[in-house]
């Protein structure tokens, strides 16, 4: 074997570095760096994030509520009622699912993190619809990402279903304009979330002392940096973020709900088992319905009220086409 001298090593290293810089330059010239530009007017409820929205002639319910069944059955039924997964996921799509894995130290029984089988079922359905890539991600706040993926059971179930767990890498956050924002006009947002063809928001319904409940809109605080600064004007800032990050579909896990000591939980006495899933394309509407699980009204939740005022969705449950079914009855 020929000797590999230091000089040669340096030569190749420099060449490699040059190639990386060149490729960066080329990619910078050819493709836009930032996520697709945001809408300048309030988007219609349920407009997918990506360009090329998919209007459909058929009228689907605004909101579906499915009760009584195993997580997978609940997920499949809910999405079927909304028109089937193929309404949302096309062949080759880049899909991101955002569950709530905020508290890194709890297992699913404590209802502090989204039910792993529910997440796995949605992952499977996206793959069945021909999605190119299905990634599940969140950034736990009370421990390492690794421990959160492990303790919540989400890593195990998602990988079994064929999905990928992604650790939210710090180099993928970038300062992003929020043109419709009233308080925050710019924030560090995870770019892949904005670039995804399909974003499925999968919160768990939990108690929260400031926003009273954490549901779909609040769950999106997991895709920004320095989320703790949202608290200085929580309701408005959650709504502002919701104007920029527009999930294709929001599926609320109410299989178990946490009624007190949220969002971290830790006492099984605070958990109620409801075996319910609420889904829809209008995140505000889905959140609004979920308030009823806690005996609250949409107006009780500051960010739902503000989001409605901003035209981000509808919280008037009387005007929505809601399809409620109970399985096995």
């Amino acid at each position: 074997m020929a000797e590999f001298t230091r000089r040669e090593f340096l030569k190749y290293a420099l060449a490699g570095l040059g190639a990386i810089l060149a490729s960066r330059f080329i990619s910078a010239c050819s493709s836009p760096q930032a996520a697709p530009s945001p809408p300048q007017t309030p988007p219609a409820p349920g407009t997918p994030t990506a360009e090329g929205t998919r209007p459909s002639a058929v009228k689907y319910p605004d909101l579906v509520v499915v009760r009584g069944g195993e997580p997978e059955t609940l997920a499949r039924k809910a999405i079927d009622l909304l028109g089937g997964i193929k309404r949302f996921v096309k062949k080759g799509d880049n899909v991101i699912i955002k569950p709530n894995i905020g508290p890194a130290m709890r297992t699913y029984e404590y209802a502090a993190t989204t039910n792993p089988w529910l997440v796995a079922a949605v992952t499977s359905m996206c793959l069945e619809a021909g999605a190119g890539r299905v990634r599940v991600m969140d950034k736990p706040f009370s421990g390492t990402a690794e421990s959160g993926f492990l303790n919540s059971g989400i890593r195990e179930e998602v990988e079994k279903a064929g999905g990928e767990i992604e650790l939210m890498s710090r180099f993928k956050y970038a300062s992003t304009d929020i043109p419709l924002g009233r308080d925050i006009k710019k924030w560090d947002i995870y770019q892949d979330i904005l670039k995804a063809d399909v974003l499925i928001n999968m919160p768990i319904a939990k108690h929260h002392s400031a926003s009273r409940l954490t549901l779909g809109m609040k769950n999106l605080m997991g895709v920004v940096n320095m989320a703790q600064l949202f608290h200085l004007n929580l309701g408005q800032r959650i709504a502002d973020l919701a104007s920029r990050v527009r999930p294709t579909l929001t599926i609320i896990d109410a299989i178990r709900i946490l009624t007190a000591n949220g969002p971290t939980g830790g006492d099984l006495n605070d958990v109620r088992k409801l075996d319910t899933v609420i889904a829809g394309t209008d995140m505000v509407a889905v959140d609004s319905y979920a308030t009823s699980l806690f005996g609250l009204r949409p107006d009780d939740i500051p960010h739902i009220k503000i989001a409605t005022e901003m035209g981000l969705g509808s919280s008037d449950l009387n005007k929505l086409d809601i399809k409620e079914i109970t399985l096995g009855s």
Partner: protein, 501 residues
């Protein structure tokens, strides 16, 4: 390799050198793997730290058997550890700067005493239940530097390269897979910062740069672990031998990395300095230098710790142990938060200052102490909640600690172990001081029934408008001092909620 020197078939000196290089590489990589895996075995391979720890901690532990085995090996093979296994020695050999060193620099042999003085000082201080001087142990230097400087630096570089590569669309998918695979287990998700990381990195670089003065400067003159093996080598069995047919060509003297081969002494060497690298054997043109059994104690040299050095070393240790006890620094800083279950006494007498826990802590909360606990416990672990927090379901530090200075607590016990208590500084807290809404500390609190409680008030702001606020208070009986509230507190600079003893 065309110009093989010993072209005879079979095992020769060159083969030994190749074997040694292979062993060095394997062990160096092995140490890195152990370091990353947080396996306490790494420090347990260091008999000096372990025995000093046993003396100071007044406790015999089963793992000391490893030290005994290593001592027996040293009684057979002398300082072979230094030349074959020691990660520090290997690194110093890779960065020897041999061709850059000026030939004019000559360092007197008397300097070799320094390592013995440090060793004796460590031992006499350990007898007085003080382990401060283990900061000079090469294994602790190695691990501490890797924890606080090398690894964060590597993370910084990797992240910088990743963010460039992420601009190439084709690389994005493999990149996110790579990142998910290595991060939060091997590399941190968020950048970690360590106090004194610059000092540790600087010391390490300085030790390497000392090679400009003499090859393996650290091993020859300073290393207390080398001195420990050096003393055992005086009576070890396998040693370098030179037979009478030596022509005094001085070739071996030129290659000897510790400079112990002296032509004026018939090309003989001091087994206390010889690291068994076998380079002399390879360089010898007439095969008069070899290694084999010698059954008598070696002669003492002027630099060996016999009288003056012995007294100086033991005296230094006693003096330091006593002076550091006098504690001219504040002993009980209110922010002296120790890892779960660790006591102040264990931090002085059991902690070997290796920094394994610093690496083990996944959030970067464990930092080397400075003088907040007094000079005696400098560079022992303290928790700094602005750089990390004690993760609720984690007992990694106790699992990693090689001397049980941090006890290994089962998780259910760890979750209720109180390491401090949070208090709210109402002059800084947003809802208390500025009438600004914020409940982050309550939201974050991981104990099942929230140690931070909120009380609702309606206040009138300066401009006359009314605002509804939730103000936090700490329920001291519930707080375990994990510091997640302090870590996340959105107040700039010093947090408005802080964990104190």
């Amino acid at each position: 390799m065309a110009a093989e020197k010993n072209n005879t078939a079979g095992w020769n000196a060159r083969s030994w050198l190749k074997l040694r290089t292979a062993v060095q590489i394997i062990f160096f990589l092995g140490f890195i793997v152990l370091f990353l895996g947080g396996v306490p075995l790494l420090m347990r391979l260091d008999p000096l730290a372990m025995l000093a720890g046993a003396i100071a901690g007044r406790s015999l532990q089963p793992y000391l058997v490893i030290s005994l085995v290593i001592i027996v090996l040293a009684l057979i093979l002398g300082r072979a550890w230094c030349g074959w296994l020691c990660p520090m020695g290997t690194l110093l050999e890779w960065f020897s700067f041999n061709s850059w060193r000026s030939k004019k620099i000559k360092i007197a042999d008397g300097w070799r005493s320094i390592k013995y003085i440090i060793l004796l000082a460590i031992v006499s201080a350990a007898i007085l239940a003080n382990l401060t001087l283990l900061i000079f142990d090469p294994m602790t230097i190695f691990v501490r530097t890797f924890s606080t400087a090398v690894w964060p630096a590597l993370d910084f570089i990797i992240n910088a390269v990743e963010s460039v590569m992420n601009n190439v669309p084709a690389l994005q998918e493999p990149l996110s897979r790579f990142d998910t695979a290595v991060r939060s287990s091997l590399l941190p998700t968020d950048p970690l910062y360590y106090r004194d990381g610059l000092i540790f990195g600087g010391i390490f670089i300085a030790l390497i740069l000392l090679n400009f003065l003499a090859e393996r400067f650290w091993c020859r003159y300073l290393c207390p672990l080398g001195a420990f093996y050096g003393l055992l080598s005086k009576v070890s069995i396998v040693r370098r031998r030179v037979n009478a047919s030596c022509i005094k060509c001085k070739l071996c003297q030129d290659v000897c990395p510790t400079g112990t081969i002296k032509r004026e002494k018939d090309c003989s060497s001091d087994p206390g300095e010889c690291i068994m690298c076998l380079k002399c054997m390879d360089s010898c043109p007439c095969s008069t230098s070899d290694f084999g059994p010698v059954y008598k104690a070696s002669k003492l040299n002027s630099y060996d710790p016999v009288r003056r050095q012995l007294l100086l070393g033991l005296g230094t240790g006693i003096l330091l142990a006593v002076l550091l006890k006098l504690n001219i620094f504040s002993r009980h800083s209110q922010y002296l938060i120790r890892p779960p279950g660790a006591t102040e006494q264990d931090m002085t007498a059991k902690c070997i200052r290796c920094g394994e826990c610093i690496k083990a802590c996944p959030t970067g909360a464990i930092q080397p102490s400075q003088l907040e606990a007094g000079g005696e416990t400098v560079w022992t672990p303290v928790l700094v909640m602005r750089s990390g927090f004690c993760q609720y379901s984690c007992n990694a530090c106790g699992k990693t600690c090689p001397t049980a200075a941090i006890p290994e607590l089962p998780l259910p016990r760890k979750k209720v172990t109180v390491i401090g208590r949070a208090f709210i500084d109402r002059d800084r807290c947003l809802p208390w001081a500025k009438n600004t809404p914020c409940i982050v500390c309550e939201e974050m609190c991981p104990v099942p029934h929230k140690a931070v409680r909120l009380s609702s008030v309606e206040v009138t702001k300066e401009d006359g408008s009314k605002i509804y606020l939730q103000r936090p208070t700490v329920q001291p009986g519930r707080c375990i001092g994990c510091g997640l509230c302090e870590y996340k507190c959105p107040v700039e600079g010093e947090a408005a909620i802080r964990v104190t003893v």
